[in-house]
Symmetry: C2
Subunit: 408 residues, 2 copies
């Protein structure tokens, strides 16, 4: 019988230099000796990607952007370097091992350079090598399109590679090793009593994705669709990490799972705009056309046929969003108010959907601390409040203890 396949992903600062690669080599060999077939996905070492991006900007004439097709091949070299070095290191420990680039691993994508999506994985070569009892090292973040050109998967690319391979190879589990030890109830730098969670379901993890483990929502989505258990843990830590699984496997039946924090949020309010069908779209479409992400959206109750329309954007996009809106000749409004220095705090938990009262309890807790709530949105499993950034620490600590997240 064949060994069980386990996909491991190493990234972040945990593969920052040659010495760390050697530690990872030993860790992989250990997994093999425990009777598993390891398939290891690596991202680029340390600051490699940033350095390549910088070179691509310097080599350009005029004020153009680097060509995306060329940039993808350029960036893909970072993962090739770490994959081949890790394979050499493991080989020198006397193990059978082979590194595969995205194309060699059969990872096919669409044509969108810079943020390609995986369209298909041909596992033939990988399965051949696994059946020869080899350890596989896969260059993350990359694939090949139907033109035979290298593509990269964009943000969270290597996590996505790992989860997709785990699904395609029917691996038992996808282990994501990184520089944090797992998923926490909230940011441990903000709340000293923040607790590492042993189990979390896909839905909650999606909402928490911006937290601690920094996994990209996209890879969580993929894991959820293919029902791949994802284990997040510290690369060089002996501490137990967090297992992300389907809801029914949960030991934790708390209704609130954690509190997500998102800083650097700005707010734009379009004052007194006529409330006709299509008003929201006429405001938001010019922004999404320019790739500006809009997040929390609130529109007040119409007064005399007019509304105030507010939404949040990231600090980085504020000025551009403002200018784009001021340029819209067809929009008829009184004024546009813009403001920086906000933060979003979100209560997350699949358990909340059938248990009312959480929103009220959240607002009460914030009110007691005299924290002003600027905007509110809710989904089935999340309540988000926009507050002043300076209030984040007090607010999150209050909520963490109100919902007893510090207790097992």
């Amino acid at each position: 019988m064949r060994n069980k396949i386990v996909v491991q992903k190493y990234g972040g600062t945990s593969i920052g230099d040659v010495d760390k690669l050697k530690l990872i080599a030993k860790k992989v060999v250990e997994k093999k000796s425990e009777g598993f077939s390891p398939v290891v996905v690596v991202s680029a070492m340390g600051k490699t990607t940033d350095q390549l991006v910088e070179m691509s900007e310097k080599v350009i004439f005029n004020e153009t952007e680097p060509d995306l097709r060329e940039k993808d091949t350029l960036l893909s070299t970072g993962e090739l370097v770490s994959a081949t070095l890790l394979a050499m290191s493991i080989k020198s420990l006397g193990q059978d091992v082979i590194s595969l680039s995205g194309p060699q691993a059969g990872i096919f994508t669409d044509q969108i350079h810079g943020s390609a999506r995986i369209s298909d994985i041909n596992t033939e070569r990988m399965m051949n090598e696994i059946n020869k009892n080899k350890i596989l090292i896969i260059a993350g973040f990359q694939g090949i399109n139907t033109e035979g050109d290298i593509t990269t998967l964009g943000r969270g690319g290597s996590d996505t590679t790992a989860v997709a391979l785990a699904a395609a190879l029917r691996a038992d589990v996808c282990e994501i090793f990184t520089d944090v030890e797992g998923i926490y109830t909230t940011d441990p730098r903000v709340v000293s009593t923040a607790r590492k969670i042993d189990y979390i379901n896909y839905e909650d993890m999606l909402e928490m994705a911006v937290l601690g483990a920094k996994m990209h929502p996209r890879s969580i989505e993929l894991a959820s669709v293919y029902n791949v258990p994802v284990y997040v843990a510290g690369t060089f830590s002996e501490t137990k990490g967090t297992l992300i699984v389907k809801g029914e496997n949960m030991e934790n039946n708390k209704t609130v799972t954690g509190i997500a924090i998102d800083k650097n949020v700005s707010k734009i309010t379009v004052k007194k705009i006529k409330n006709v069908p299509g008003t929201a779209a006429s405001i938001l479409k010019p922004l999404s056309d320019r790739s500006i992400s809009i997040d929390v959206i609130v529109q007040n109750i119409p007064m005399d046929g007019y509304i105030d329309f507010s939404f949040s954007v990231s600090d980085d996009d504020l000025q551009r969003a403002y200018e784009i809106l001021m340029d819209q000749k067809n929009l008829d409004f009184e004024e546009i108010i813009k403001g920086k220095g906000f933060a979003k705090i979100s209560l997350v938990g699949t358990g909340m959907q059938n248990a009312p009262g959480y929103a009220t309890e959240m607002f009460n807790a914030l009110g007691k601390k005299e924290i002003n709530i600027e905007m509110i949105t809710t989904s089935e499993i999340r309540i988000t409040c926009l507050i002043n950034e300076k209030d984040v620490n007090v607010a999150v600590n209050a909520l963490h203890s109100t919902f007893e997240l510090d207790k097992e």
Copy 2:
């Protein structure tokens, strides 16, 4: 009618940094504007390859060698980086351009990792892109084998890529741009009157390959077989370079073309070994089995059934060669004498083969300067003397003027 294809190769320090890449971008665009279809082969930037080799040595446990398959993929990233950066730079000048890796360019090789030989070039994709009027940037030094694995071509790899592409694409000429301005009659640092040669034939160039232009003999051989004219010139120089062509095109009918100098040579003499069939092989095979290159070989006239057997190796190999020979239990000799500090000087010229007396003239010229000749070998178009390294300057200057190489 299609534009004429010209293959250009840029390497060495001439692509040492981003600023130099930008200068090359302009040079390529200029060639395009003159009505050519440029196919540009690049090597890795500056010290990139050395740095990658260093990392591969550091990541290894025990005293093993890095796995050659993995090392090939690792090293191939250096050329991918320079190729994509150059393509981006040219693109930002408003030109249609595409970079291709060795595999994308259809360069197939045998299985020998680290020193693969090109077995076939499928020009389909390259011709498609050329027909779309695109400038092609090709990552040199690399190909793909029938396993779908990356191979590298070893020393002189990018020159070989350039010549092979010129042959496969039926290019008008293969232009090799580097940090010297062409081929000289001898090393200009040794002889102040050394002259740049306008034309040289393949045979002479093969012998001279170690000189000035530092082209690898292998690429010259390939150029000769496919009759590809090779133009060697300085990357950022306006001075005319050297054209390497078939013999009949030569303007220069001098018999001696140039003097090659090779320093760091050591000499080993096996004293008083029995002269039976297979003696030479029994001495040399253990060395070639360990990849030690033997060069000049001399064996004296047998005396009482015994001979002295001498040969030259590079300084770096001397100690190892000595130890290997001392370890050969089946060799029966009196002693082994080893010595460092020699140099080879070679008179090169296809014209010499039908004109006797050059050897005598060479020995006379050296004798007049009281230079001792340690060993001699000759081929049809070359006479090589092993002398003391301290005598090189005097010897080469004497020969350069004896054979009137300083005169047009």
